[in-house]
């Protein structure tokens, strides 16, 4: 493989990299100028050809998603930048917002132009207050320079961009939950279809794209779809921001081509595990992905296909490393508690199931586990997200994929480290 040069994070260590003058000095907004001379359909075609797949977690083709926006509709179209980054183990969008907000904004303008949208939103998670303040300045700079507003770059294209703060709810990262939230309601995901492209914000055609996805767009326009496809894995190409956290020496965001080995990511980029402890387990794609054992983790490529083959997923590319000292039952409880807290409460299997998982795992950790608890953990995860088969795109028994997102990791903990669960329970039996 040729030496890879970072694309999205090339300039993040330079002084004032967040400002408009800096961004322009490294070729910023050239892609936008190019796009405004193109037909919107040609832009969609180029992005389709690049095979850019969404960086938020689902990995759906960005160009195809745009293509669903009806062309004959006279309703307003909306673009929403999903900056509600909340998947445990994921902290790349925050980096992009802090360091290269204009790159993301240029991507937003390109996407908006492609789908004929004149009002776009940045839905930023409420806790990111500093980034919210920074983005307000970014927008002010852009309006000042006529990169937003009326007649952008002297064209007849108009775009307003609004920043909207969330208020603390993981589920609002799910695109229809996000749309409900933007409409001033609780973030309850909608039943699909209709998909947002047909009926989204205020019943109008809407595209929701992740920050990193949008940040890729100026580069695709500047260098072409073929260039993008030449980077990394064939079926899901491009640069990718991998977040590595947990028990590693050098946690952080590493931009690498799709398909880098997880081993290289953990032991080279993230500096390996402190005190030379042994690797035990890894979340490869945020806490919603099934965990991998050390053995599996050392033999996997970080792309869509290879992780599906390992019965996990690339998700948000948030790698959480757990060394030999991490107790798998407690780690499982930690994740289950996250999901119980964040379950929106709309679907009974998820609302009740997540609460039961926490109750059961808590009693196991507290030495009050029962011999049939393990079977019951399987039963509950089955009942929340029973038909897990991402290759068929099927979801389980809930409206949104949150059900799978809890069932999958919890089940993988129990399956792959059943001994640890059993030893907690056997201790109880021994005492009894």
């Amino acid at each position: 493989m040729n030496a890879f040069k970072p694309v999205l994070t090339e300039h993040i260590h330079q002084k004032d990299c967040h400002t408009l003058p800096f961004y322009k000095s490294v070729g910023g907004y050239k892609a936008l100028e190019k796009v405004l001379a193109m037909q919107p359909d040609a832009v969609i075609q180029e992005v389709k050809e690049s095979n850019l797949r969404g960086r938020g977690g689902a990995g759906f083709s960005t160009g195809v998603k745009w293509g669903f926006i009806p062309k004959d509709s006279d309703q307003p179209k909306y673009l929403i930048n999903n900056a509600d980054e909340s998947e445990p183990g994921t902290f790349k969008d925050r980096l992009l917002m802090n360091k290269t907000p204009h790159q993301m904004l240029e991507g937003m303008i390109i996407a908006s132009y492609a789908i004929n949208c004149n009002t776009a939103f940045i839905y930023i998670r409420g806790e990111f207050y500093k980034e919210y303040q920074l983005l307000k300045k970014t927008l002010a700079e852009a309006y000042q320079a006529n990169l937003l507003g009326q007649g952008i770059f002297g064209s007849d294209y108009n775009l307003e961009v609004v920043i909207h703060r969330g208020a603390g709810a993981y589920i609002c990262g799910e695109e229809t939950g996000l749309i409900e939230s933007l409409e001033g309601k609780r973030g309850w995901p909608r039943i699909k279809p209709p998909f947002p492209a047909i009926e989204g914000y205020l019943h109008c055609p809407t595209v929701v794209n992740n920050v990193e996805t949008l940040a890729c767009l100026p580069h695709i326009i500047n260098h072409g779809a073929d260039w993008f496809k030449s980077i990394g894995s064939e079926k899901g190409p491009g640069p990718r921001l991998f977040c590595v956290s947990g028990t590693v020496n050098n946690p952080g965001v590493f931009e690498e081509p799709m398909g880098i080995s997880l081993k290289e990511l953990i032991f080279d980029r993230a500096g390996g595990i402190p005190e030379n402890k042994q690797l035990k387990a890894v979340f490869p794609g945020g806490s919603s992905s099934a965990i991998l054992t050390a053995e599996e983790a050392l033999d996997v490529k970080m792309d869509f296909e290879d992780l599906v083959e390992k019965k996990s997923m690339l998700g948000s590319a948030g790698v959480i490393v757990m060394d030999e000292t991490v107790d798998m039952v407690q780690a499982c409880l930690n994740i289950a508690r996250f999901y119980a807290h964040e379950s929106c409460g709309q679907c009974t299997p998820c609302r009740e199931g997540t609460a039961w998982l926490v109750k059961m795992l808590t009693r196991i950790v507290n030495g009050q586990g029962k011999p049939d608890d393990i079977d019951m953990l399987y039963e509950i995860t089955d009942n929340i997200g029973g038909r897990i088969d991402f290759s068929k795109g099927s979801f389980g028994k809930t409206i949104c994929p949150f059900g799978e997102a809890v069932a999958w990791p919890v089940r993988s903990f129990v399956e792959k480290f059943e001994n640890e669960f059993r030893s907690y329970i056997q201790q109880v039996e021994a005492v009894a």
């Binding site: 902290f91 500093k130 703060r165 969330g166 939230s181 001033g184 956290s245």
Partner: protein, 163 residues
């Protein structure tokens, strides 16, 4: 919502220009709800019944619908909080990097458990879920600011520096 409760003084936004600006950004009134709640909480410190009534009037919906929002989102508080909200992330990456010790530290030092406020109303301690800064674990958000890669010592200095 407070129509059942004892009458409260009507809540008025201190800066009506900001309210107008918020409304001007959205195609409909109701979309302004979250932004108005943020603005009101920044002013009052929490969301009272009269805040809910005022916002319901402004966005033209029943107060119950605004309350529905308030109860759903973890960042809105229906009771007054301490001057400094210490929000310790407890999700996995922070947890394996010492987040529990930070919670214990506050509990020992100020005699408050998660969810409690010191008697002098200086601090409210909370355990929160993933703050999206796992690479710099453990992370604590105090009011609007993130404090990353905290050791017990640095955390202590930070707490001491807060009035």
């Amino acid at each position: 919502m407070n129509t059942m409760a004892t009458p409260q003084e009507k809540f008025i936004f201190a800066n009506p220009d900001k309210v107008d600006r918020i409304f001007s950004q959205y195609p409909d009134k109701k979309s302004a709800t979250l932004s108005l709640l943020h603005l009101a909480q920044a002013q009052e410190g929490y969301i009272s019944g009269s805040v809910i009534d005022t916002i319901a009037d402004l966005v033209e919906c029943h107060p119950a619908i605004v309350m529905d929002c308030v109860s759903f989102y973890s960042m809105f508080f229906t009771k007054p909080q301490g001057r400094h909200k210490i929000q310790v992330c407890q999700t996995l990456s922070c947890s394996v990097n010492g987040a529990d010790a930070l919670v214990d530290h506050v509990t020992n030092k100020f005699s408050i458990k998660p969810g409690e406020t010191t008697d002098d109303r200086r601090f409210t301690l909370m355990k929160v879920e993933c703050l999206g800064s796992c690479g710099t674990a453990p992370v604590v958000q105090i009011n609007n600011d993130y404090h990353e890669g905290l050791t017990n010592e640095r955390f202590d200095e930070l707490l001491e520096s807060l009035p």
